[in-house]
């Protein structure tokens, strides 16, 4: 617990900055949402798009609930990327920066295993991501209420949970990269890449005419806010797949860190 608390404290400042940026983004996007509440123009526009683009723009969600559809296209779709970038950078500093600064000599001179050290830090990172998702969704709900809209609280909490699972995989992957990276600069690039490249890949598959099954080889494929908002179904399958993937990546990170010269 001591190591976990220490790691949480180390992340606090960057967490606050990142949350502030996301909340400001949420406020900006939500402030324009009332304008689309009764607009049929979006629905008309959507109707003229190819099927893949319609799906990308929220599909039935945009038709049935234009405000949520608008928020999805302008904000909610990108949240795993934004939180993922935070997770990627934090994950890379979790090990690689500490190794660069040779701080592990102090910690590993204590009776601690590398596994304990890594898991405590990863635990703190996962906690900070969960808190970031919660803060983001709470901000979204509060700003929607403040704008006189009626937020789908349960639906957005499910969206936050689903997004959290995606960033869980991103962060464990980035921690693995951090454990093996030559230095912090390399680890940070890996962290950013692990967050951004799968997002771009997912976007490309969604636009392309290729089979949508290709989406499910990377975590963003399991993030489907329109479906969650319309059905309120708990994403059991996503939970199973993404938690299993995170477990495998965590095992890999521990293994890499245990073999690593620090």
């Amino acid at each position: 617990m001591t190591l976990y608390r220490m790691a949480l404290r180390q992340q606090l400042v960057s967490w606050l900055i990142w949350v502030l940026v996301i909340v400001l983004g949420v406020a900006t996007v939500v402030s324009a949402a009332p304008a689309v509440a009764d607009s049929r123009a979006l629905v008309t526009l959507l109707g003229g798009l190819p099927a893949s683009m319609r799906a990308l723009m929220g599909g039935p969600l945009m038709v049935e609930r234009p405000v949520d559809g608008y928020l999805y296209v302008k904000l909610v779709m990108y949240l795993p990327l934004l939180v993922g970038i935070f997770a990627g950078f934090q994950a890379s500093s979790l090990l690689a920066r500490e190794m660069d600064h040779r701080r592990f000599d102090f910690l590993l001179g204590l009776p601690l295993t590398r596994r304990q050290l890594l898991l405590a830090r990863l635990g703190a990172l996962i906690t900070s991501q969960a808190a970031m998702w919660l803060a983001t969704v709470l901000a979204l709900i509060l700003f929607m209420r403040q704008q006189g809209l009626h937020p789908d609280v349960a639906g957005y909490l499910l969206v936050a949970y689903s997004g959290f699972l995606v960033t869980l995989v991103t962060s464990t992957g980035a921690v693995w990269a951090s454990a093996g990276a030559r230095d912090y600069g390399v680890a940070a690039r890996w962290g950013l890449g692990i967050a951004a490249v799968p997002f771009v890949y997912d976007l490309a598959v969604r636009i392309a005419t290729a089979s949508k099954a290709w989406r499910y080889i990377l975590p963003y494929g399991y993030y489907d806010p329109p479906h969650l908002l319309l059905t309120h179904e708990f994403p059991w399958a996503s939970t199973l797949v993404l938690v299993a993937a995170a477990a495998v990546l965590t095992y890999g990170a521990v293994h890499a860190f245990e073999r690593r010269e620090v």
Binding site: T2, R102, R103, L108, P111, T113, E261
Partner: protein, 295 residues
């Protein structure tokens, strides 16, 4: 006396072929062992290998009877470690570091640690980033000693300390020795090693080239002999161990290795007017190992 630190053919060879190329150590309980060598000789790698911080490429080592690889946690429980150029957390105070270290070791009683902090005048309540190099070093020393370990592995411990702090630290080490602690410390400050070590090991290019007491190392090296004569001078060339004889009109100067019994017998027959025998300093011994001076 049992061995507190043992190493058999300890190897840590990096990709460039450098590192520690096979070291044997046998350091007894309650001993202060000085580990001498210039930068890059393998001192830090040896210490980190002994603590299990780096993966060995060969050989084995144990501390307090525990294998440094298989029982690494037990080794670190029994050991206080001061890294060379210790990196601490800039935004944490010394006290926070101390609390973290003691908490992770499961120690609640802070009295021993605070006693050391007082003796070394450690500034516990300032952030690390606000401390000078020497004061950071004091915090790091405190962290190594705080849990009252049986074995201390100290990498360049006096680096950055002012002379007064160095004195206080040496007194502390002597006290720890009297309390039965084993101390293994690396240094390239020769007078310091000379002053406090029971034995000294000299490492060169990853190999231990000499291990002996300070006195023993001096004895093994050449002594400088300078004799003044007004009358007849004896012939020293036939004496074993004598080198570099310079004969002047009224004096003879040479270097001699090993014991001086034969010299004294000859001098009894031919008593000189004046005699000076200079023992080599540890620095000269050290330079001889590094400079290739003939022994």
């Amino acid at each position: 006396m049992t061995a507190a630190i043992q190493a058999e053919n300890l190897q840590k060879i990096y990709g460039n072929g450098r590192g520690v190329l096979g070291i044997d150590l046998d350091i007894r309980e309650g001993e202060i062992f000085g580990f001498l060598g210039p930068n890059g000789a393998g001192k830090t790698t040896t210490i980190r290998s002994l603590l299990g911080l780096t993966r060995l490429t060969g050989g084995r080592a144990s501390i307090a009877g525990k294998d440094v690889v298989r029982e690494s946690l037990d080794v670190r429980r029994a050991t206080g470690y001061l890294p060379g150029d210790p990196a601490l957390y800039d935004n944490m105070t010394g006290r926070k570091h101390l609390e973290l270290a003691l908490s992770l070791r499961g120690i609640r009683d802070r009295r021993h640690a605070l006693g050391i902090a007082e003796r070394l005048e450690v500034e516990l309540d300032r952030r690390i980033r606000q401390l000078s190099r020497g004061n950071r070093q004091k915090v790091a020393i405190l962290l190594a000693l705080a849990h009252d370990p049986a074995v201390l592995l100290l990498d360049e411990p006096t680096s950055g300390l002012d002379p007064l702090a160095q004195d206080a630290f040496r007194d502390l080490l002597q006290e720890e020795k009297r309390r039965g602690k084993t101390i293994f410390f690396s240094s390239h400050v020769l007078p310091e090693v000379e002053a406090i070590s029971d034995r000294v090991g000299i490492i060169r290019d990853g190999r231990l080239v000499a291990v002996d007491s300070v006195e023993g190392l001096r004895q093994s090296r050449l002594k400088e002999v300078h004799l003044r004569y007004r009358g007849e001078k004896p012939d020293f060339t036939s004496m074993t161990g004598v080198r570099g004889i310079e004969v002047q009109a009224d004096s003879v100067r040479f270097r001699i290795a090993g014991g001086t019994g034969a010299l004294w017998r000859l001098l009894a027959e031919y008593p000189p007017d004046d005699i000076t025998i200079t023992e080599p300093s540890l620095e000269e011994v050290f330079r001889a190992y590094y400079g290739g001076e003939p022994s």
